[in-house]
Amino acid sequence: MKVIYTDSLIIGGGLAGLRVAIACKERGHDAIVLSLVPAKRSHSAAAQGGMQASLGNSSKGQGDNEDVHFEDTVKGSDWGCDQRVARMFVNTAPKAIRQLAAWGVPWSRIQAGERSAVVNAERVTLTESLDAHGLINSRDFGGTKKWRTCYTSDGTGHTMLYAVDNRAIQDGVEVHERKEAIALIHEGDRCYGAIVRDLITGELSAYLAKATTIATGGYGRIYSITTNALICEGTGQALALETGKTPLGNMEAVQFHPTAIVPAGILVTEGCRGDGGLLRDVDGYRFMPDYEPDKKELASRDVVSRRMTEHMRKGKGVKGPFGEHLWLDITLLGREHIEKNLREVKEICQYFLGIDPVVDYIPVRPTQHYSMGGIRTNEKGAAYGLLGLFSVGEAACWDLHGFNRLGGNSVAETVVAGMLIGEYVADFVETHDLHLQRGLAMDFLNREKERITKLVERKSGEDAFTLKREMQDLMMDNVSVFRQGPVLEQGVAKLTELLERSRNLAVKNQKLHSNPELAEALKVQKMLKIAQCVTFGAAKRTESRGAHAREDFIYRDDANWLKRTLAYWDNPDDVLPRLEYEPLDLMSMELPPGFRGYGKKNIIDHPDTPKRLAEVEAVAAQHPDRFERQQALMKYDLPERYQGKNERLGKGFN
């Protein structure tokens, strides 16, 4: 048996995982990153439009700061997020982006003087100041008060991932490619590492570490149509869930992005609308102002996706061979702008649709995009239930996003949380010993080996590809933009049946090495458990909040549902998770629950809301200084090296 020892084991080689590895390495600890694919091919590379950070350099970003970013993020989350985490995040995002600038990201920069832009379908002239020349630029995104999304054309994720992976190579971080973690090694309340399968040779080995961090991204591939890469299958979340100790948080919180192309489901960035693009219906009519007169196309993603769905239900969709869609119109932005700032979009349209978005409308519809839910951690990224287990990025429910994530806050989360949680992981590594749990590792390895042998030797049984496809179609039909109790219950029943069938899987190809069918068969039950957590959680949450929109419970019910769902999988043979609920402490919120400003105000208030509002007002009145006010309202902690205030153009550190 091959056993590999390290201080810090990181499962997942995208932005979040690499950033944790770098943090550990810089503090003098060994770090190994496991990755299904070469790190630079991770799904982080697909982030297009940008990263939010309140630099406030550009004319349309003037007046931006941590407070405004915080408020946008909390409102965007429909008050479902952890406000302390949101504060940690907004205070660190400017530092993260400035560090990435030093690491080589070629952020688009401000050109002093006049430039032409499109705002609300009209050409306007913006003037950038001379002192802003050469600082990092920003564009508009949905649900934000300021133009805060920093970018490199529409290849932001690519440039960030390349800079961070290059830094990891510079630091000598080891990345073990084409390796899949298939189980965590744990005993009692302690996690010791993972059992890992080599996807080329099929060999199993044990990685033992002081700290294990799961950074495997989201679970979009439980849906048949998603913007996510093929590797975003929720298996990282399943590793934690299958321990029976660690719960997954808010799994029902699944984001649908308004603009993925039809039928391929490939994303075209929110930057299209941020830069002035419009949504049009079958008649070519711009419908969003009718629904959301204030934010129009730039309402939060959950809102736009619902409005698009409503509009299609009214018969205003465009009918095509792949179902209905609407149009995204960026023709008004002009060729020069599109070829400079939306070039990936142009390439995607050219190759996957055979159209030119400079002159043609793009067929789009709401498509699964982001997993707000994930491995539930505390503010320091430590998973509930198992000491030594951490999670970061989309894989985690750190809970920055609550029930709806703002565009531009996801790549921002990966690097910010990577920086912060990287420090906490390093702290943990410094204060804990490596346990040489060879015997335990052997037990887990043998258990996995036996599971694989049994699967390969079974003469006939269920086909993994078929089970997966049935699950994906069912999630699409039953757990989508709008949800209804009976439809969700039907989904739960069907997933229960699929889970039972998954115990009788067989493979046609019995090879143990480089066998894609076996890899699939080893994953499908994990994916079914994740799908069941999403669906069961959605069925039980009898309110509407953010992306969880129940047609039979249209109110956001703060009185009963200001709480986070925790899903546990107690026994391997269970077909349903056990749900617990973790209340959000309203009386400690810096920003008490309120109205997001979209559509009708459908809220059942929590009885404590007026009381906390009055408290917040009283405290605010005593503290004219915004930093003192913030600290008086809600304390939060950061690693020492990232505690400083952020400088801004013309404002100093105020």
């Binding site: 030093a102 080589g104 391929a264």
Partner: protein
């Protein structure tokens, strides 16, 4: 060259070989599929694996032309399979081979990741700036001319798909040749004012026939790069810069 082709019966002739199985011999195997509207090589291969032969190996990750995982030789040309539509081929027989140059994992899957990491280590693809770790991230970032940032981005768009190496005559002749992907990385860091390496430092990395002087100017890289990066221009530019460095 685009043909109206729905409902054609397509034949995929695919190289099958498992180098990890001593009994396996390289062979071409045909698979038939009914063409569907919007069908890409990605969709076709997925269907073949799920319905005809679950052992077929290939690599897709983003399936959107962004991650660079899926390059293979399609009808003799190295291309990204995910964004190649079957309808662009007038003839219904499509031949798929793995890229040459790289270690074969099996069938259409090759190990590009290993080579790309080696290239990164060889030409040190990171910003060389001694002050990098001392910068105060609470302060305003250093300014950069907008057109310089745009130019660096232009050269930073490489997705490490490996097509330039598979299409490179020189690389086929000598395994230690750096190739266009490496030159583009050098060009990217050379253009970046944040990287403090001198021309001489770069000369040390590429100033020989394993580097930029080994290029035979066949320009397969320029012809097949899926991101249309300016390889020809940058290789010529690097050669000039490196020659000047020696004349100083």
């Amino acid at each position: 060259m685009e043909t109206q082709a729905t409902g054609r019966k397509l034949t995929f002739e695919i190289l099958r070989f498992d180098p990890h199985d001593p009994k396996s011999k390289p062979r071409m195997v045909n698979y038939e599929l009914q063409e569907a509207p919007g069908m890409s090589i990605f969709i076709a291969l997925t269907l073949i694996r799920e319905t005809q032969d679950p052992s077929l190996q290939f690599d897709f990750v983003c399936r959107a032309g962004i991650c660079g995982s899926c390059a293979m030789v399609i009808n003799g040309k190295p291309m990204l399979a995910c964004r190649t539509q079957t309808k662009i081929f007038p003839h219904p027989k499509i031949t798929l081979m793995p890229m040459p140059v790289f270690e074969l994992i099996g069938d259409l899957s090759v190990n590009t990741g290993k080579v790309m990491r080696e290239i990164s280590e060889r030409v040190k693809t990171w910003i060389h700036d001694k002050r990098q770790d001392d910068i105060d991230v609470t302060r305003l970032e250093e300014t950069m001319e907008p057109e310089v940032a745009d130019h660096v981005y232009e050269l930073d768009r490489c997705i490490e798909c490996g097509i330039c190496l598979a299409a490179c005559g020189t690389k086929r002749m000598r395994d230690d040749f750096l190739g266009a992907v490496g030159f583009m990385k050098i060009a990217r860091f050379l253009a970046d004012p944040r990287d403090h390496r001198s021309d001489h430092d770069f000369y040390e990395l590429i100033g020989n026939d394993r580097g930029v002087f080994g290029c035979m100017s066949l320009m397969g890289c320029e012809d097949f790069c899926p991101k249309e990066l300016p390889h020809q221009e940058q290789i010529a530019y690097l050669r000039r810069r490196m020659v000047f460095d020696q004349q100083k």
